[in-house]
């Protein structure tokens, strides 16, 4: 069964497109942070990317089937790490999300939990085999994702908690959910909405309402939405050379959550569309890898990555163009930040892993 695994089977094309997006991200971080106290962030981002690539290679050589065999332990460890945050986490601006690590760095477990959820969901559905999805299967699959999701929600970190949702949805969809089941759950979710709104923290509620009518609170939460819209809109077709929104600091945190707005202002519709195209190519390439995966589990793993990546793009770009509320979700591969970069490359490492074994069996 063992077969020589070679770099020839590595998806170099995928890596090239990924690195193109990263490169554009680094350039935009440099431009957006110049003359601010964040100046030099693009250098740090380069280090993160280099570290990400290295860990991607490492991960691609650990057989993903072995990983899936041990996924229960990883799942338990991730629940434990979320528990640790709940108890010992550093409180910052009213939320407990970080664990202080020796050496002054901070660790946010909710990021790598995402990765383990992809594996856990894949393992669960791969083991089901049957085409028909029964209600108990449905509920069990939901619970795998719901437990860590609720724990992250309690931190409270609505944005990250939401990113767990597409993993479950993708799993259920490919696992053979019926239209009837989907509609029932959607209906239930719709009924729960008012209740959920009630549970949200005031600042989260404020963000939602300010999304509905940003002018109502143009200095508070609505400020970010309005400034982002102005940044994107003033970019025009070819981009604004002054890019005053980004460079005069009207746009908040242009290097992280609003990097796409900064990019769209500087490079216009043409530039923004180019980036979107790159992301689309990456997603299509990933789906193709899922189709050629050696087994059911492999397909589920890769499609889990597709789900998370598409959701991030949908929510982040959607927020920047005013279709979605401000949730604090970064744009993967472009936004500045170690956790996010590392997650993407580790996820790609697993995708490579699946692809390199496509001829096994």
């Amino acid at each position: 069964m063992s077969r020589y695994i070679s770099f020839r089977d590595f998806d170099w094309l995928l890596l090239i497109f990924v690195l193109l997006i990263c490169g554009l991200g680094v350039l935009e971080i440099r431009s957006a942070t110049a003359h601010t106290k964040f100046a030099g962030a693009h250098i740090k981002q380069l280090y993160w990317i280099a570290g990400g690539i290295a860990s991607m290679f490492v991960v691609s050589f650990i057989n993903y089937q072995k990983m899936l065999d041990g996924v229960h332990w990883m799942y338990i460890a991730s629940i434990a790490s979320l528990m640790t945050v709940m108890i010992f986490g550093q409180k910052y601006l009213g939320a407990r999300r970080w664990i202080k690590m020796p050496g002054g760095s901070h660790f946010q477990p909710s990021e790598w939990v995402k990765l383990i959820l992809i594996l856990a969901v894949a393992k669960y559905f791969a083991d089901l085999h049957q085409r028909e999805l029964t209600w108990p299967d449905f509920i069990k699959a939901g619970a795998i994702v719901a437990v860590p999701m609720l724990m992250v929600l309690a931190q409270p970190d609505l944005g990250t908690a939401l990113t767990y949702l597409p993993i479950a949805i993708m799993g259920l969809f490919l696992g053979g959910v019926h239209l009837k089941q989907a509609l029932t759950v959607l209906l239930l979710a719709g009924l729960m909405m008012p209740l959920a709104f009630h549970v949200l923290k005031p600042y989260q509620r404020e963000r939602l309402t300010s999304f509905m009518q940003p002018e109502a609170d143009s200095q508070g939460s609505g400020y970010q939405v309005i400034q982002s819209l102005i940044a994107v809109g003033s970019g025009g077709l070819w981009g604004s050379s002054a890019a005053s929104q980004t460079h005069q600091a009207f746009l908040p945190v242009p290097q992280t959550d609003f990097i796409f707005a900064a990019f769209a202002e500087e490079h216009g519709f043409v530039g923004a569309l180019t980036v979107m195209l790159l992301y689309f190519i990456v997603l299509m390439r990933l789906t193709q890898n899922a189709q050629t995966a050696p087994d059911r589990a492999g397909t589920f793993v890769v499609m889990g990555v597709v789900a998370v990546l598409s959701f991030h793009i949908l929510v982040n770009v959607g927020m920047v163009v005013g279709f979605m509320p401000v949730t604090g979700i970064p744009l993967p591969l472009m936004s500045y930040g170690g956790s996010s970069v590392l997650f993407m490359f580790l996820a790609l490492g697993i995708v490579m892993n699946v692809r390199m074994r496509r001829f096994v069996n």
């Binding site: 994107v232 003033s234 025009g236 929104q245 009207f250 769209a264 569309l273």
Partner: protein
Amino acid sequence: MFGRDEKVSPVRLTAVQYIVLGIFLVLAYGLWRLQVMQSDMYASLAEKNRVRNVPILAPRGKILDREGRIIVDNYPSFTALLLRDSSRDLSADADLISQGLHLDAKDVKDRIRHFASMPQYQPIYLKDDITPDELAFVESHRNELPELDTIVAHRRLYPRNGFMAHLIGYVGEVSEEMLNQPRWEFYNPGDVVGKSGVELEYNQILMGKNGSRRAVVNSRGREVERLDETPAESGRQLKLTVDLDLQIAAEQALGDKNGAIVAMDPRNGEILAMVSRPTFDPNDFAVRVSRDQWSKLVNDDDHPLLNKAIQAQLAPGSTFKIIMATAGMQEGIAQDMHVICNGGATFYGRYFKCWVTAEHRSHGLVDISKAIYQSCDVFFYTLAEKLGIDRIAKYATMFGLGQKTGIDLPQEVSGVMPSEEWKLRNFKQKWYAGETISVGIGQGAVAVTPIQLARAIGAISSGGMLVRPHVASPSDYQGNVVPANVPERTQIPIDPNNWTIITDAMANVPSPLGTAGSAHLQGIDFAGKTGSAQTVSNALKAKTANGKSKYKDNAWFVGVTPRRNPEIVVAVLFEGGEHGQFAARIAAQVVKAYVEKQRRQPTKVAEKSKKVEIGAVWNSESPGGEDQDRLQGGHFSIDVAKQRLPLAVAAPGVQ
């Protein structure tokens, strides 16, 4: 493996691809809409996007006394602030700014760094109450320092000389550690909030909501057009239960002696006056107080920031005998107890002195009544021996000693009421019966706060009705979170006979018969109990004494008027006052002020002395005869003196 391991439905995989395509088309449409269809509109918005936000600070609510007289007011002043909406490097200007505003350059830079992660519209407040020359500096540097501006702020005006300072508290900038607590989660850095006293406890009511004014600024930071204004919502007024006239009387009565006074209405728990000494002047520290000034106040050995009325835990001395008497009589022991006091007695092999030996006399035959007004230690030693510590602790705890009273002021302390269980829990030691003897006269491990003592003795004088003290008037008080698990009122059963005996004995205390004869008030039904409590053991005192006031006994007095079902209870702690009667004189002044105010209220004819014309008829002996009275009539004009203390209009320094 081949058969079971079915592949995932290719139809669904393709469906995912179409869904992703759909998402991308929608997002691309969003970009198209903004960047192509509406790009002109947004470009002009970006052009105009040099909107400056200047906050409008909301004034805090005034604090009033029970009759609506002003205790804490505001006055307008200028605050210098840095606006962070420009792209300027603020740190580079810090040196010039700190020079012009007479600030420490390092402090200014620290603040700029501290605010770096805050939203742009959040300004940095640099200095409150700037002087005219600092204001002139800001005005003359508009071009060089466009980010530097001034706004009108409403600063707190507190009564002068630390009048009522402990009860009122003070305000300050919300600190970083506070912001991490759930209570302050939704406040912003730079907000001015209550830091102690009612300013802290009722911050929610007193604090307003800041507004803001938006204006378009040019690239150099000059305002060129005003846009809109969100007015500030001022904070609500807070009415206290304190009576300003009584507070003035209490402040004057304590003078600059160390200690505390609490005056409370034992019928409903309303605090009428509260004084603590030494005091501090909250006006002295600006809203943003410098670090040196602050540490000087905190590290002062006399602890001027401590509100002794609720935070001093001291031995109650003989005032505790009222609790003892109640316990003894309710348990049926003290009624028929007679003790001969020869200046002391031996218990458990140790000789305990009565205070009276210091005057070279003895009390002779003592019953419960005489034991109270003469404060005979031997009687209460004997009673303590008979009751035992746990029964004493039971009554003391019932009347709220050794626990928080639940007053609506922050940082109240609980004091200590020892018992067998307490000693086992805290010292892992058995209680020695000998320790009970000292507890009988309010020494030993007993530690109470003045407010606890006022509440407990007020309750006994009221026939057992124990109330929870509070400083805000009921309407505001209900709106606030109830501070502790203390019921608003508790009825503790006291036999009417016992009640009469104890209260009558207390009425004898400020009389020639009692221990506080010099505090006698003519024409006022004034009752109470003196106390003097050692601060260190007698042995230590003998070694170091030499008249050093540091180790002088604390004088206590808790007085009420009238003796039964009183309208007011006054607890006085006079630190180093040596004898209870000195505290009693202070309490008498407060009680006198109270009664005089009550008596004058129905007839408000307070004008200057004036002549009153009256007519009258009377009998007088007839000048000629001896046996006949003669009716006479006449018309008089007499001087009516109306020289009384004028009522206060507002707290001193706030008019």
